[in-house]
């Protein structure tokens, strides 16, 4: 039983995901219970797996008993176990939020569990084609969830997401084809050896790198490939935007890091500086452009979405610098951003239900009407800017120190400027919340918020996210230790 832990993590939610659909023949209100039970078990399994990795090091599992490199291998090291734990915890939080925020249909919870399956699979797979399959499972579930919004523009946003996302995943698949042509293998560890044997300057290897990384940057939503993301986040139901903004891009960024460290390895980055600089350049453009677009938004949810474009620029920059300290920073920021952004979307959902405010102007003076949600929103926003002791500060600090170590001075300048830009869009929102005269009258707010009440559970989730955004700082040494299981990084 215990040695089958990695595969159980994937099997559990996918089997759980079929149950609500079957149960629809008898009852329509069972989905939430099934999803919660499945994710509770998932959390326990993730905890056990985390403990095994902590004490015994990397765990690998041959699916179906076919040994690597011929069969599909699941590999769990420190970085993947951190992501699996994140998926478990965020899923439970979102389920607590969804209890009264809805949607309530069984089909919704089937897709929810399918998304959890895809995310877990992406985190633990050790095979590049298997990664493609899980990427598409994640994608399919995410498109369906975005479309579950009541208004028809959710379907338009989902279709846009689907077309752009599919092109991205297809480019990744094409890259896998080039890697297969160069080496004849799909196993990540095996690819790392054989790509080195083929030679890093080979056209096949370079094309494979370009296509695989390019495809994943579409899924991560780096500028200028982010166009699907703001519509998808803003038009989906609150529950879905909290879940997707917290996890989907996060796990894609993890997959990018996995490609860099376990498939192409840092020797490739060392041997082909152009690849490293191109990716760093893309990340920097994303940081600046994402922030600039966020500042110019009037809708709060669209502003949060553009903020993700910029924050993922930071994370990718950290992974691309690839010194040990920068990678710790990028991982901390990856995990921290998931908690903060999910929490911000959930808080904005509550503020909308309570007061009807959805725009930056509408947020004026709303802190008095919904103190807990607004307070959590402010804490999360300041954490995102990087005010110590919040986790946003630690992540950015480590990435900047890593960039200084690597002598990447232009990157250091962009990283520091990004903090100011983040402050530019979050500070005006916090200022409006607390120090401006309300622009929305009380009566209209009640009329808007009457049919969608806010439960204690929803408030608890948002407050917990705010507490976690600060408390995660204490977990940084643990993350640092977990990352020692990664393949060797650049030493500069």
């Amino acid at each position: 039983m215990i040695e089958h832990l990695p595969v159980l993590l994937v099997v559990l939610p996918i089997v759980g995901g079929t149950l609500p659909l079957v149960a629809s023949f008898y009852t329509d209100r069972i989905g939430w219970y099934v999803a919660t039970a499945a994710m509770l078990c998932h959390t326990v399994l993730a905890g056990l797996l985390g403990w095994t990795v902590w004490t015994d090091g990397v765990v690998s599992y041959a699916v179906g008993g076919f040994a690597a490199p011929y069969g599909i291998e699941l590999v769990v090291d420190g970085l993947s176990v951190a992501l699996v734990a994140l998926v478990s915890v965020v899923s439970l939080g979102v389920l607590a939020y969804a209890r009264s925020a809805g949607p309530r249909s069984n089909a919704f919870y089937s897709q929810f569990l399918l998304l959890a399956t895809g995310l877990t699979g992406m985190s633990i797979t050790g095979d590049v084609f298997n990664l493609y399959v899980f990427l598409e499972i994640t994608g399919l579930a995410a498109y369906g969830l975005v479309a579950s919004g009541r208004e028809a523009n959710a379907a338009v946003a989902a279709l846009k997401y689907l077309i752009v996302g599919t092109i991205g995943a297809s480019l990744y698949l094409l890259g896998v084809g080039y890697a297969l042509a160069a080496t004849g293998t799909l196993n990540m560890a095996d690819l790392a050896d054989k790509l080195a044997a083929v030679g890093y300057d080979s056209t096949l290897v370079l094309t494979a790198f370009g296509l695989m990384v390019g495809g994943l940057t579409v899924k991560v939503a780096l500028f200028p490939l982010h166009t699907w993301q703001p519509d998808a986040y803003a038009n989906a139901p609150d529950t879905v935007s909290a879940y997707i903004s917290a996890l989907v891009s996060t796990v894609s960024a993890y997959a990018l890091a996995r490609l860099l460290f376990s498939v192409f390895t840092v020797q490739f980055l060392d041997a082909v500086p152009v690849a490293q600089w191109a990716l760093l350049g893309l990340a920097c453009v994303s940081i600046v452009a994402g922030s600039a677009l966020a500042v110019s938004q009037s809708s709060v949810q669209r502003m949060l979405a553009y903020s993700s474009v910029s924050q993922f620029g930071l994370v990718v920059a950290g992974f691309t610098i690839a010194t040990p300290i920068a990678v710790v920073g990028a991982t901390v920021h990856l995990v921290g951003h998931a908690v903060m952004k999910g929490g911000l979307f959930a808080a904005s959902g509550i503020i909308e239900r309570r007061t009807g405010a959805t725009t930056v102007g509408g947020y004026a003076g709303m802190a008095a009407r919904t103190p807990l949600a607004a307070g959590s929103f402010a804490v999360l926003a300041l954490a995102m800017v990087g005010v110590p002791p919040a986790v946003g500060f630690v992540g950015k600090w480590y990435i900047v120190v890593g960039a200084v170590e690597a002598n990447a001075w232009p990157v250091v300048a962009v990283l520091l400027a990004s903090t100011l830009l983040t402050l530019a869009y979050f500070a005006r929102l916090v200022e409006r919340l607390y120090f401006a005269e309300p622009t929305i009258r009380e009566e209209t707010a009640v009329a808007d918020g009457g049919d969608s009440p806010v439960s204690t559970g929803m408030i608890t989730v948002v407050v917990a996210a705010a507490v976690l955004a600060v408390a995660l700082t204490a977990a940084v040494p643990a993350i640092e230790q977990l990352l020692e299981t990664l393949p060797p990084l650049l030493n500069q």
């Binding site: 598409e136 479309a147 338009v156 297809s170 094409l174 297969l180």
Partner: protein
């Protein structure tokens, strides 16, 4: 002599021309066509280009189908075939979801034209 050999090489790789053509046509249709259904068709053509690329990879001159018989090898590689079977299934599911979304969009807005939709969408 060397040039002739290269010409020969170029002429015998016609599968790859088809791959490039399919990828190009597919991507162009996705970007340029204002009709949502045609965009989905373009997406399918793009993926078909990738499928053809993988199947071409598996080919070797004079290879037998990868079924172990008395005659023996050389065999064509079965691995890309298996991968593409999986990728086709993924492609079909994506098309199904995309078409379901288009049905919903059409029943709501009464149009499949991207530009008309854009105007309605931002009202």
């Amino acid at each position: 002599m060397n040039e002739l050999l290269q010409l020969d090489l170029l002429a015998s790789r016609y599968n790859y021309y088809a791959v490039v053509l399919l990828l190009g046509i597919g991507l162009y249709t996705v970007v340029e066509s204002p009709n949502l259904v045609k965009k989905v068709i373009g997406m399918n053509v793009f993926q078909t280009g990738i499928f053809l690329f993988f199947i071409t990879l598996a080919y070797r001159t004079g290879g037998n189908p990868p079924v172990v018989t008395e005659g023996g090898g050389p065999y064509v590689s079965p691995l890309p075939h298996v991968l593409i079977l999986t990728a086709i299934v993924v492609g079909v599911s994506l098309t199904a979801v995309a078409l379901a979304l288009i049905v919903r969009i059409y029943s709501e807005y009464g149009t499949l034209d991207e530009e008309t939709l854009e105007q309605l969408y931002y009202d």
